[in-house]
């Protein structure tokens, strides 16, 4: 069995190399930020990656050398190369304990500062008041309410660029996670609780957003689109919506809450006038109305073509 070819895994060295080439060569959503929040998270990621590559390279090289050099069937092995009772060396053990501690410290400091920064609106738009948007998840759709503008959208949203958006996250029923990868990290929306998430787009464009936390059958389809546009265009859109979109009635809202997939919709009033699911009073609003709606599944299948998922039958 000792005559097998040596196991020095050259291909393993290709792994970190491929990693670097890959990261620099393509535009992965999270590494292609369109706003300051996602940017600060990307910076922290890249910073941490240097350490990670360092660790990987050190371990891989040490590993490769050990396996190559000390394999039993290596030709011309010298006798002094074998010390079966070698079992410790205080100096080296201290070194390889202290270095990881230093690395952890070096990673902790920017992590903590970034964490505190993310709790506040981005610096770059400090001169403007953030725009308040209530993002409410309901199985399996998103409601976006603009209380100051008195409008509400379903499954899409418009935001002005270069201005912080203050999302008030909650859910009418199951827990969801509100995530727009190119604008920044996610946060949970839960019934009876409200989370604040600041995001901002500096580049106009259309971004994908979704619920990232599994919450039942329609989860995959619980996505939305974000239109980031300059303030004037945003204002025009708001005005058009206020003038042209129908009002949202409580009956219609209640039936929309029922577990289902729905199209994009636009209204010239918000559901906040009846219920704020982020408050303790609003936490069971949906479930007492739709308790029995979960008895049957929706038979959600993957249907080819545009709108790649739809309810069957």
């Amino acid at each position: 069995m000792n005559q097998q070819r040596h196991p020095f895994k050259k291909w393993l060295a290709l792994v970190p190399l491929g990693f670097i080439v890959f990261l620099s060569g393509c535009e992965l959503a999270v590494l292609d930020p369109a706003g300051p929040v996602a940017q600060s998270q990307k910076d922290l990621m890249i910073y941490s990656l240097y350490f990670m590559f360092g660790i990987i390279i050190v371990v891989f090289v040490a590993f490769g050398v050990m396996v190559f050099k000390y394999r039993d069937n290596k030709p011309n092995r010298k006798d002094e190369d074998y010390k079966p009772n070698l079992h410790g060396n205080t100096l080296i053990e201290v070194v390889w304990t202290v270095i990881p501690i230093i690395i952890v410290t070096a990673l902790s400091i920017p992590t903590v500062t970034t964490l505190f920064e993310l709790e506040k609106p981005p610096e770059s738009s400090a001169d403007k008041e953030p725009l308040v948007v209530y993002a409410t998840s309901a199985d399996w759709k998103w409601f976006f309410s603009y209380p100051e503008q008195g409008i509400e959208t379903v499954n899409y949203l418009h935001i002005p660029t270069d201005r912080a958006i203050e999302f008030h996250l909650s859910s009418a029923d199951s827990m969801a996670s509100f995530w727009i990868p190119r604008l920044g990290g996610q946060k949970y929306g839960m019934a009876g609780m409200e989370n604040i998430l600041y995001l901002q787009a500096d580049v106009p464009g259309t971004y994908n957003g979704r619920n990232a936390n599994f919450n039942g059958e329609g989860f995959t389809a619980q996505t939305f689109e974000v239109q980031a546009q300059p303030q004037e265009q945003f204002d025009t859109w708001v005005q058009e919506t206020q003038e042209q979109a129908p009002e949202l009635t409580q009956d219609e809202y209640d039936s929309l809450l029922k577990p289902s997939l729905v199209e994009e919709m636009t209204f010239s009033s918000t559901h906040l006038q009846w219920v704020d699911h982020g408050t303790n009073a609003g936490r069971d609003y949906s479930i007492i109305r739709h308790r029995n709606a979960y008895d049957e599944t929706l038979h959600i299948e993957n249907v080819p073509g545009p709108g790649w998922i739809s309810e069957n039958e």
Partner: protein, 645 residues
């Protein structure tokens, strides 16, 4: 309830499953009857209290569960291989990832390791069985019936579909009606009894039954890791027990601990789950570390480097594992301060883990590495696991975790730690100790094929997933969009390579059973260092005819140098051994039915079952069976035959 509600209907794949179950069951029944093996099965296996046989049953069940979980995985990967795939619909996909996760962690990884502990730990410390052999049998049957209960859900009643994490309110009665989620709760609860009991059992065994001279700091490292793991079990599992019980009461009796109505606290479930769940991932990794340490020292033919540092890192990791649970939901909005604290505790775990990695590397330094199959699995673990570890640290940095959380980046991380960690260790341990269990080695050539295929398949499968995560692909979605096609397709190819490798591994077992040379020496590899290799093969029921005096770390190495064996003819004494008993099997069988009735909320029947369980306990309490003695003559005969004297 109508019969068509009882059985799951309308899914061709599930009908296939039913047919397969029916065929396999009838085949087994037929073979047992035809070869008149029922008595043998009962006497030798179902009633055994011998730790070695119980261990083998654990491992066989775990392999079956690996097959089940693996089949689930291949179905999921098939569905995700192409955009617009219509192999599984959303509901079915949800059920499959839920069962996959639960089966792999609870019914595969843990039982596999517990099986190895069962067989090896008493042998490593020079004991003749567990401290409580009866309880050990009880533990096994609790696991076995719990696993069966969970596994029948997909044909009877419907499989759970809220994820292995089963977050409330989704998993509550309102949003997940029907028996599916109850199967999860009762399956885990039933098997949890056994896990907790095993934890206590191992703890006492290791504390009280070591060979004379074996102080704690002379114990083999696998025993150490088992010892610490049993502490984690004893502290973590009660949390799960309580959480499961509360959710069961919620769902079946209408209480409101985790509901949206009635001031329930759904997020408390996430906390309780991960207060158990994070220690749980260390329950399945620490024994794996132990196995790698044993295998690496043996086939490097060198003493383990930094034994004390190794032990202390295990202890430190175990302690820290209780202080990091919030990292599973940094995104819940607990605030920057809380997230900072848990980020730091999480990253700190990497320090003792790093120390262990360096110690393994230093063990290889100036060694003589023999590349056997168990050694290959152990060596491959080191670089692969490091990738999983560093991505774990990246996830531990809460500010960036907001971007990785709930994505394929996370999926890749935990597969990079669980597969090279736990699964490689299970393979390494099984191949390494196989000759002790079955009296022959596994074929090395076939084993190497399966190893290389699995290793490459693993990286091909999971490495691309880091990038999918960074590209915004959320976990648990049941179909992909076209821009993610290439990487997903590669990933699926890797998954099938692993599937093929597993098939080759199983073939290797069969091939070796037919053709491998039978072992005659106890020290099958020739490099054994610890006491399990001092026993003859096959291992006699009592393990050690005479228990050796231990002076050093590598007790058997010293015995070999001094020419000593565990058969000191002058000093033989009758050995006291426990008797076989059917009570554990019957008791857990009854509780299986009680749990099954509770799943369907048939309360009267469930209560009757529970009373049955209590009656069995009372019967056991009045059980005065003191076991039997193996006489000196018989020991002599056995040992002489086994040692060829």
């Amino acid at each position: 309830m109508q019969l068509d509600e009882f059985f799951v209907t309308g899914e061709p794949l599930i009908y296939g499953g039913m047919v397969a179950i029916a065929l396999v069951t009838s085949a087994i029944l037929f073979i047992l009857t035809y070869f008149k093996k029922w008595g043998w099965l009962w006497r030798e296996w179902l009633t055994t209290v011998d730790h070695k046989k119980i261990g083998i049953m654990y491992i066989l069940s775990a392999l079956a569960m690996l097959f089940r979980g693996g089949a689930d995985a291949l179905m999921m990967r098939t569905q995700l291989a192409f955009p617009n795939m219509q192999f599984l619909n959303a509901q079915h996909y949800d059920e499959i990832f839920t069962t996959h996760g639960t089966v792999m962690i609870i019914f595969m990884a843990m039982p596999f390791l517990i099986g190895l502990m069962n067989i090896i730990v008493p042998l490593q410390i020079g004991a003749r069985d567990f401290a409580f052999p009866f309880v050990n049998a009880l533990s096994f049957w609790s696991f076995f019936f719990g696993a069966m209960l969970f596994n029948i859900s997909f044909v009877i009643g419907g499989a759970p579909d809220a994820g292995w994490t089963s977050y409330t309110p989704l998993a509550g009665a309102a949003m997940s009606p029907g028996p599916g989620q109850n199967f999860y709760l009762m399956g885990l609860q039933l098997s949890g009894i056994g896990t907790l009991a095993t934890g206590i059992n191992l703890m006492v065994t290791i504390l009280k039954m070591r060979a004379p001279g074996m102080t704690l700091f002379k114990m083999p490292i696998f025993t150490w890791s088992t010892f610490i793991t049993s502490f984690i079990i004893v502290f973590a599992f009660p949390i799960l027990t309580v959480a499961l019980a509360l959710m069961t009461i919620d769902r079946i009796f209408g209480s409101q601990f985790f509901t949206l109505t009635g001031e329930g606290m759904p997020m408390m479930w996430a906390n309780l789950f991960w207060m158990w769940g994070h220690p749980e991932v260390y329950i399945v990794i620490l024994p794996a570390f132990g196995i790698f340490s044993e295998v690496i020292a043996t086939f490097a033919r060198k003493r383990l480097f930094g034994y004390n540092a190794m032990v202390w890192s295990i202890i430190l990791i175990a302690g820290l594992s209780f202080l990091v649970w919030v990292h599973h939901f940094f995104t819940m909005g607990a605030g920057a301060f809380v997230n900072s604290v848990f980020s730091i505790t999480t990253m700190l775990i990497a320090v003792p883990t790093g120390v262990k990695i360096f110690n393994w590397l230093a063990t290889l330094y100036k060694s003589r590495i023999v590349l056997t199959v168990p050694m290959l699995w152990s060596l491959a673990f080191i670089p692969s696991f490091v990738i999983g570890g560093v991505t774990g640290v990246m996830l531990g940095m809460a500010a960036t975790d907001y971007q990785y959380h709930n994505t394929y980046f996370l999926v890749s991380h935990f597969h990079y730690v669980l597969i090279p960690g736990t699964v490689f260790a299970c393979f390494a341990g099984l191949v390494y100790w196989y000759p002790k269990m079955f009296g022959h080695k596994l074929n090395e050539r076939i084993g190497k094929w399966s190893f290389w295929l699995f290793l490459i398949g693993f990286h091909v499968c999971f490495f691309p997933q880091y990038f999918l995560g960074l590209d915004g692909m959320a976990r648990r979605i049941f179909t992909i969009t076209p821009e993610w096609f290439t990487l997903n397709f590669i990933s699926t190819m890797g998954a099938f390579m692993m599937g093929l490798a597993f098939a080759i591994f199983v073939y290797c077992i069969y091939y070796s059973y037919r053709y491998s040379e039978r072992e005659i020496s106890g020290d099958a590899w020739g490099y054994g260092r610890t006491l399990e290799w001092a026993t003859p093969t096959p291992i006699p029921a009592y393990n050690f005819a005479t228990v050796p005096q231990v002076n050093t770390h590598d007790a058997f190495l010293e015995m070999k140098e001094k020419g000593k064996t565990t058969f000191d003819e002058e000093n033989l004494e009758p050995i006291h051994m426990p008797n076989n008993t059917g009570k554990p099997f019957i008791m857990m069988g009854i509780l299986f039915f009680a749990s099954f009735f509770l799943v369907f909320e048939w309360i009267t029947l469930a209560v009757i079952g529970l009373i049955g369980g209590l009656v069995m306990m009372i019967i056991r309490s009045f059980d005065y069976d003191d076991g039997h003695h193996i006489e000196v003559d018989e020991i002599k005969r056995t040992e002489r035959a086994a040692r060829g004297l």
